[in-house]
């Protein structure tokens, strides 16, 4: 169909330009995703071997692995989520169930949303001031707390959203049977929103397991194998940062391997969370 009217022709031309731009934009987005993942696989898989999991981070120029950093990352993430999960769940329950529609509740939700996207390096500075300076040493505890501060608003927010989806008739039916409020919440509302809340927690784990900035001045790093939570603990993000910026090729190789491990874990968690969310619907 060809239009002979010049105005119509111009409109179609504009439309075509917009379409082409839009397709190119999408193509570029996908291309970059592919480029990043491709480079990670290319560089990371090449450096992957058993030593990565069995040996600790090497001194400059030597051969070694990432076992201490992998252990540290898992510990920091687990402790962080263990601190954040109950508090976030309860806070979300309060904001969604008790403070529904109240002015203070709205303000608290707003503050939580601001905290949700606050720069993570500032959380690092804050935890450094309250948990590192007073004790005089970097520690895994402080790192875990810093990660908890990052995870808390995520869990809080998803809990609010998920509880809001639970139909009121369920609450009313339970209350009519004489159940006290806390039992209604714990055994009816939480249970109804279980998979949604779990999805939120998985996403929070995914979010904090790659965080670097809050760990720089809290957990710091440790060249040796350490399980002491009161001492500095190695972790993958900080190791990646230090090793990548170094001039040693062996360190750079390990940085890529660490990056591959973290990205694989996070993509796995994200996909798991998605399937969980899709199934619950």
């Amino acid at each position: 169909m060809t239009a002979h009217n010049p105005i119509t022709r111009r409109r179609y031309r504009r439309n075509r330009i917009a379409m082409v731009f839009s397709i190119i934009a999408t193509g570029m987005g996908l291309l970059i995703l592919a480029a990043i993942l491709g480079e990670l696989l290319w560089q990371g898989v090449g450096g992957l071997n058993m030593k990565v999991f069995t040996e600790v981070t090497p001194p400059p120029g030597a051969d070694g692995g990432l076992s201490n950093a992998i252990y540290g990352s898992i510990m920091l993430t687990l402790v962080g989520i263990a601190i954040a999960a109950p508090i976030g769940l309860l806070a979300g329950t309060y904001l969604s169930e008790y403070a529904r529609g109240s002015k203070i509740g709205e303000a608290a939700k707003f503050i939580n949303d601001v905290l949700l996207s606050a720069p993570s390096i500032i959380v690092g500075l804050f935890i450094n001031a309250i948990l590192v300076v007073p004790f005089g040493t970097f520690s895994a505890w402080s790192g875990a707390v810093a990660l908890a501060v990052i995870a808390l608003p995520v869990i809080n927010r998803t809990t609010q959203d998920m509880l809001a989806l639970v139909p009121n008739t369920l609450r009313e039916a339970a209350a009519a049977l004489g159940a006290p409020r806390w039992k209604v919440l714990v055994f009816i509302v939480w249970r109804a929103a279980k998979s949604g809340i779990l999805t939120g927690m998985l996403l929070a784990v995914a979010r904090i397991s790659g965080e670097t900035a809050p760990l720089l001045f809290t957990s710091f790093g440790n060249q040796f194998w350490s399980t002491n939570m009161s001492q500095p603990m190695a972790n993958l993000p900080v190791v990646i940062y230090q090793f990548a910026m170094s001039p040693y090729s062996e360190w750079q190789r390990l940085a890529w391997v660490g990056a591959l491990l973290i990205t694989a874990a996070i993509l796995f968690l994200n996909i798991l969370a998605r399937t969980l969310a899709a199934r619950s619907r």
Partner: protein, 322 residues
């Protein structure tokens, strides 16, 4: 005997009621305390930053904001270079990411064939899940060399001699620098803006959209005349959300910014941002004043990003309430 039995039963029931009430109250306060903790956290962060930056504030006062010199050896600190770097890299990132995100959102809501919509949308959202250190690593090892050997020489040759904008593209091609940092940032915030944009595009009632198409509008006209005006506030909110991310982002920038406390006119020159300065220098900062100056940088960043995020939330909230 029967009377006491009733008494006992009644007492038991009362005891149980009391216990349930106690449990109820305990649960309420536990939940209240958790919510209060979140609020206290924000206040705590603000107060702690203020407290820690007092030495720097009392030494340098307001001129801290526009003095460029940053000399730890001489105990002279000024925030102009990091503030400029933060704003400039974020600006570059927005200039690239906003149109691209709108393009992707338009593709996903208007053009893309149905079966491809979910996979492509998911792929873009997975991009958001990748931690910022990976972007930094990729930017440092992959993007920076490309910039150094291909993009920057091209920019220097093409735009370097132009009269008005030439100064933006002068100097040597280092690879790292403001432009590279802005590019990495734009890749990082792209998925955030895209997913908000797509979500608000989808709030446009089908009826409105179909009527517009029915009148013979082209896809672009529907987007330009119907969808964008309808979702204006939400779009601005999404853009601000992305801006908030860009301003506070640390690792992706730290790798490729070059960490130089100088304001250079050229976009190709190395610079620094607030978060990159903190990440690079805080652990090694010796002396109260040095640490304090870095924390004051953090305070400035917090105030900037708080304002932007609050504005974003407010704008997004207004679209949702339509």
């Amino acid at each position: 005997m029967a009377t006491t039995d009733i008494g006992v039963a009644e007492q038991a029931s009362r005891r149980q009621t009391r216990r349930l009430k106690r449990q109820d109250r305990a649960f309420y306060w536990l939940a209240w305390g958790s919510a209060a903790l979140v609020v206290a956290l924000l206040l705590g962060i603000l107060l702690s930053l203020l407290w820690e930056s007092l030495p720097s504030i009392s030494t340098f006062g307001l001129p801290f904001l526009w003095h460029e010199r940053w000399s730890p050896a001489k105990h002279i600190f000024g925030a102009a270079a990091p503030i400029y770097g933060t704003l400039m890299t974020s600006l570059i990132a927005m200039v690239i990411a906003v149109p691209t995100s709108f393009g992707i959102a338009m593709f996903l809501t208007e053009i893309c064939p149905k079966p491809l919509r979910r996979p492509i949308g998911t792929a873009i959202e997975l991009l958001a899940g990748i931690p910022s250190i990976i972007y930094g690593l990729w930017g440092f090892f992959v993007l920076a060399p490309i910039m150094q050997h291909h993009v920057q020489p091209f920019l220097l040759n093409t735009f370097g001699d132009l009269p008005v904008i030439g100064f933006l593209f002068s100097g040597a091609p280092y690879g790292i620098g403001m432009l590279t940092a802005g590019l990495v940032l734009s890749i990082m915030i792209l998925p955030f803006i895209t997913s908000v944009t797509r979500d608000v595009f989808e709030t446009v009632p089908v009826m409105l959209r179909e009527s517009a198409y029915g009148m013979g509008m082209t896809t672009w006209e529907v987007v330009r005349r119907i969808i964008i005006p309808y979702t204006r506030l939400g779009l601005v909110g999404g853009v601000m959300l992305g801006l908030g991310r860009a301003l506070g982002e640390t690792m992706a920038v730290t790798f490729v910014i070059g960490n130089s406390h100088r304001i250079a006119a050229s976009l190709l020159a190395p610079g620094t941002t607030i978060s990159a300065s903190i990440a690079n220098e805080f652990a090694e900062a010796d002396g109260k004043l040095y640490t304090s100056a870095l924390v004051e940088l953090g305070l400035i960043l917090f105030v900037i990003s708080f304002t932007v995020l609050a504005l974003a939330k407010w704008l997004i909230g207004r679209t949702e309430s339509y």
